[in-house]
């Protein structure tokens, strides 16, 4: 039976494709002189689409025989990603209009939207084939985006590193899935879950390890993270910010869905401990690497690795509180990190300077940029009253809700690590506020789009935590699928 009405269950995906098509048409058919308004056009389209998604009620249901599922949490997650992408695009407007990039600016927006589409598929996929396609759609074009700054050698190196690691990891991931398929005979999450109940074989463990490695690559969990820093550093800042927040958020969500929905039965036996070890490693190593970084993009790469470890706490919790805290964490992380990247991008675009030492005395010349950066750092470090504090607290509470002593120990490790992380976040603040330098970055006039983006981020960083209804909104959405966790515990 061909029931095309099932497509109506995916309004967000279709809406996104529509935006993509409009952008594509604009890029392809509009005259050259209007091309420079293309970025703004994209942003406006994206904004309209985002607002629309927020306004209309969540589509709930399964389509294509359970291959695709839309429910309240996926809806919320996609909305959050939309907001994030909107911010990224906003901050990229000026950059894409710059001399060296402007010829390819259409492609930037198209690829961004298409990868977002891939992420949507990842989030909603309840079938491994669809998931793999989503994963590839979300990761392959990023290699092209990484190579966007053709002038710079680093950009190419980043792209090469990314694509090789990505293909390798997808091969590992596919191997894992092939094992799963061999054991269950299906690719539908639900059927696999049923078939795997009581299965603790070596093969399952191997498969799980490979699946975790495959998705862990996207999330840059240790030890699958080594590409991260190089790629973040080499890519254009807009791409880095996109990679660090959007891609990570989507992967985290789908990771949770896979682990809980597919392998839920093996939680306490198998993957709780795998994830446990990975979280400890991720948070600790990420922090240790970050401590010594001078290049801010590279620095944020390591910081994002350790942040991913915190996000994983929401998964290991396997409960509603953990999941909603995780989504909330991603939301807050998007705002905080994008605020930081916004500043970096604005400064890099005009002066080309990205190391921490370049930021010495920034406060004197660019107080607002420094202020934004500081808020971002505080939020990332989990300092109240900024949103990062709330998200960290909630994710710890969510994790501890799981109840075992081991998780308390894990949270303690995470907490001790927050001190290290605070140290390096404060290093940035120190550079901007405490240090003096002879060649301070001159006063910069940032473009209104950049400024809007940063202001939005700052507002988000300040108010997301204080306004409790945002968390309540997420929590309400996750509550709707609370049954998913009930099976585990």
């Amino acid at each position: 039976m061909m029931d095309y009405s099932q497509f109506l269950l995916m309004p967000q995906e279709i809406g996104l494709l529509l935006v993509f098509l409009l952008v594509f048409i604009y890029d392809t058919f509009m005259p050259e002189r209007t091309q420079r308004y293309m970025p703004v056009f994209t942003v406006i389209m994206m904004a309209l689409y985002t607002i629309y998604c927020f306004c209309c009620p969540a589509a709930v249901g399964e389509a294509f025989g359970g291959m695709f599922e839309s429910n309240a949490p996926t809806w919320v997650m996609k909305n959050i990603l939309n907001v994030g992408v909107l911010l990224v695009l906003l901050q990229a407007v000026k950059w894409t209009n710059s001399d060296f990039v402007s010829v390819r600016r259409g492609e930037f927006y198209e690829l961004t939207l298409l990868t977002l589409f891939g992420m949507f598929l990842m989030i909603s996929a309840r079938h491994f084939l669809l998931f793999v396609i989503g994963l590839e759609t979300a990761s392959l074009p990023i290699a092209a985006l990484a190579a966007f700054e053709k002038r710079y050698y680093e950009s190419h190196e980043a792209a090469a590193k990314y694509i090789f690691t990505a293909i390798f990891s997808s091969a590992i991931f596919l191997l894992g899935i092939s094992f799963v398929y061999g054991m269950s005979g299906s690719l539908y999450f639900k059927e696999i879950a049923t078939a795997l109940i009581g299965n603790h074989s070596a093969l399952l463990i191997a498969a799980l390890a490979f699946v975790i490695a495959g998705v862990g690559f996207k999330l840059s969990l240790v030890p699958f993270h080594l590409w991260t820093a190089d790629v973040y550093q080499g890519s254009p800042t807009a791409v880095t910010s996109y990679l660090s927040v959007i891609s990570k958020g989507a992967a985290a969500f789908s990771f949770l869905v896979i682990l809980v929905q597919v392998f839920g039965a093996a939680y306490s036996q198998v993957w709780e401990w795998m994830l446990y070890a990975i979280i400890v490693l991720t948070i600790t190593l990420g922090n240790l690497f970050a401590v010594r970084q001078r290049n801010l993009k590279r620095f944020l790469a390591f910081s994002s690795i350790s942040q991913a470890g915190y996000i994983m706490l929401g998964i290991i919790a396997v409960n509603v509180m953990g999941m909603s805290s995780m989504i909330y964490y991603v939301l807050v992380y998007i705002f905080s990190n994008l605020a930081a990247f916004g500043v970096i991008a604005a400064i890099e675009r005009q002066t080309g300077r990205v190391t921490m030492d370049d930021y010495n005395g920034l406060f004197k010349t660019n107080p607002w940029l420094a202020f934004t950066m500081m808020l971002a750092m505080f939020s990332l470090g989990g300092i109240p009253p900024f949103a990062g504090f709330f998200s960290k607290f909630f994710i710890f509470v969510g994790a501890c809700h799981q109840g075992s002593v081991a998780i308390y120990a894990l949270v303690l490790i995470a907490l001790v690590n927050t001190i290290i992380s605070l140290y390096y976040y404060l290093l940035v603040v120190k550079a901007m506020f405490l240090r003096q330098d002879d060649c301070v970055i001159p006063t910069i006039k940032s473009h209104w789009t950049e400024r809007t983006g940063m202001i939005l981020c700052v507002l988000g960083v300040i108010f997301i935590g204080l306004i409790s209804c945002i968390y309540a909104y997420i929590n309400g959405a996750v509550d709707a699928i609370g049954a998913m966790f009930a099976a585990i515990q």
Binding site: M321, S324, F378, I383, P384, P385, F389, F393, F394, F396, V397, C400, H401, G403, Y408, V411, L412, L415, V416, T418, I419, L422, Y423, L426, V429, K430, F433, L434, S468, Y471, A472, N475
Partner: protein
């Protein structure tokens, strides 16, 4: 909104409004900045005095509830986090203390340069955290305000500090945040055991204490976590090392606020959260912390004897005095705990006074090394007299605050019948001699004797705002010293629930 009918919320709103007002000022309009800051500080002072009178009226009218001025607004329903407000005697006097020190601090940083606007903004953010902490009775909001109060320290020291400020600021922030990391875990643990099986979990301190549901095995873990967490801020040995460096580098008003109020958060939290909520473990484990704090009283005092930097001396003296606060809290009887709060008040005011004076002296001589100074009494008699008064308060002279506090602590502690507590008490009392030694040593070197540096002869005495700032504090110190019973009456009944809980938790 029901919340806004409660006077307590204005202790948070007023500093925030001041913060906003300062944000609107231009960095060049120093007059406007000062005006806004002074208005904010005065408003806080008025509010605090008003609060005391409300409290006295309520108690006078026979309101014996544990907390008065309760308000409760749901904030984060999934975690049962409320914006729960309420004060008892201890919080009231703490708020009063904070208001005093904020007031004095504003005047002490009158000529702050550079970036006065930013300085005052951070300053008021810090005070927001402090006041918020004292008015909250919800674990989450308390913790949030606690950290809000901590982080401005980094910039306040880092930007406006002196000496090895980068190192000190980082060390202070990291160590305090390290403490709060333990604390956070402790609070989460408390939250998950806050109610008996089947009842909704709560973050409200009073409810948790009322439920008394934390299993004993968990108390053994959570009590040390929370106690150490707060203890770090309370300069508990061996987690006190941030204090000498931090204070040495901090600008005057920040040292004042930090030593005067922020370190009190530690003691306050220890008693309000660690001991009150986990009386069983408190009884069982108190001896460890008694040893530590008892040791740190003498240890801090002895260390202070050899320092040559004025601020280091004061910082170590704070270690000693704050050790006494925790020591007294751990004695678990009303008298000693009342003494602890008195000591918090006393130490807060007199250390603030000390730091204010040191800052003013340093601002003139540009050195804090007592070996380089001498005969300051000739040159700046007002500051000299102030310093002597602060010193006398510190060494526990009657009719100044330190005496009443220390005596209450000693006599309260001595009410224990067992040798362990008594020996510790005697050990603690020896500090009064050592304190005298280092205080008089400084006074002799710094104020008396010959003028060491001829350039110092041209220095001027305190300006009017400096006089106002120090006079406020001196008056407060004398007020506590002369009328201790006024404060004791406010404070002591607040300890009844705690002491009752502790006794109920004692194994029969």
């Amino acid at each position: 909104m029901e919340l806004f009918n409660n006077i307590l919320i204005y202790f948070v709103i007023v500093p925030l409004l001041t913060l906003g007002g300062l944000a609107l000022c231009s960095n060049r309009g120093i007059k406007a900045i000062r005006t806004v800051a002074v208005v904010g500080a005065c408003a806080l002072m008025v509010l605090a005095v008003w609060l005391v009178s409300i409290f006295l009226q309520a108690r006078g009218a026979g309101d014996t509830s544990e907390m008065i001025l309760r308000s409760d607004v749901m904030w984060y329903a999934p975690f049962n986090v409320h914006l729960a407000l309420g004060v008892d005697g201890v919080s009231v006097v703490m708020i009063l203390l904070s208001a005093f020190i904020v007031f004095a601090g504003v005047f002490a940083s009158w000529k702050m340069n550079p970036l006065p606007k930013q300085f005052f903004m951070w300053f008021f953010l810090l005070s927001t955290g402090v006041f918020g902490f004292f008015i909250s009775i919800d674990l989450f909001t308390m913790f949030m305000f606690y950290e809000v109060a901590l982080i401005p320290m980094y910039l306040l020291i880092g930007v406006w500090g002196s000496g090895n400020k980068n190192y000190s600021a980082m060390k202070l922030t990291l160590m305090l945040m390290g403490g709060s990391a333990f604390l956070m875990l402790g609070l989460i643990g408390i939250y998950f055991h806050s109610a008996p099986e089947g009842q909704p979990l709560t973050m409200n301190i009073l409810d948790i204490a009322h439920n008394d549901a934390i299993p004993h095995s968990w108390q053994y873990v959570l009590f040390p976590l929370t106690f150490v967490g707060f203890g770090v801020l309370g300069a508990m040995f061996p987690f006190h090392t941030w204090s000498p460096d931090g204070h040495a580098s901090a600008p005057t008003a920040v040292s004042m606020l930090h030593a005067g109020v922020l370190m009190k958060l530690g003691g306050y939290g220890c008693f309000r959260i660690a001991i009150y909520l986990m009386p069983f473990a408190a009884n069982e484990l108190a001896w460890i912390f008694l040893l530590l704090t008892g040791f740190s009283i003498v240890y801090g005092a002895l260390s202070a004897c050899v320092q040559t930097d004025l601020k280091y001396i004061n910082a170590y003296s704070s270690v000693s005095h704050c050790g006494m606060v925790l020591f007294a809290i751990l004695m678990f009887n009303t008298t000693a705990m009342t003494g602890a709060v008195l000591q918090m008040l006393s130490h807060g005011l007199m250390t603030a006074l000390f730091f204010a004076l040191i800052g003013m002296i340093y601002g003139r001589t540009h050195t804090r090394d007592i070996r380089d100074m001498g005969g300051m009494m000739h040159i700046m008699p007002y500051l000299g007299v102030g310093y002597v008064i602060a010193g006398l308060a510190s060494l526990g002279l009657p009719f100044l605050s330190g005496f009443a506090a220390e005596m209450t602590i000693f006599f309260g502690s001595f009410q224990h019948t067992d040798t362990f507590h008594r020996v510790l008490t005697i050990m603690a009392t020896t500090s009064i001699v050592v304190t005298a030694v280092y205080i008089l040593r400084v006074v002799a070197k710094l104020l008396f004797g010959e003028v060491q540096d001829e350039h110092h002869r041209t220095l001027t005495d305190a300006s009017w705002e400096e006089r106002l700032s120090t006079a406020t504090l001196i008056l407060a110190v004398a007020a506590i010293g002369c009328f201790p019973n006024f404060f004791i009456n406010i404070i002591s009944s607040s300890f009844d629930p705690v002491v009752k809980a502790l006794q109920a938790a004692l194994p029969l």
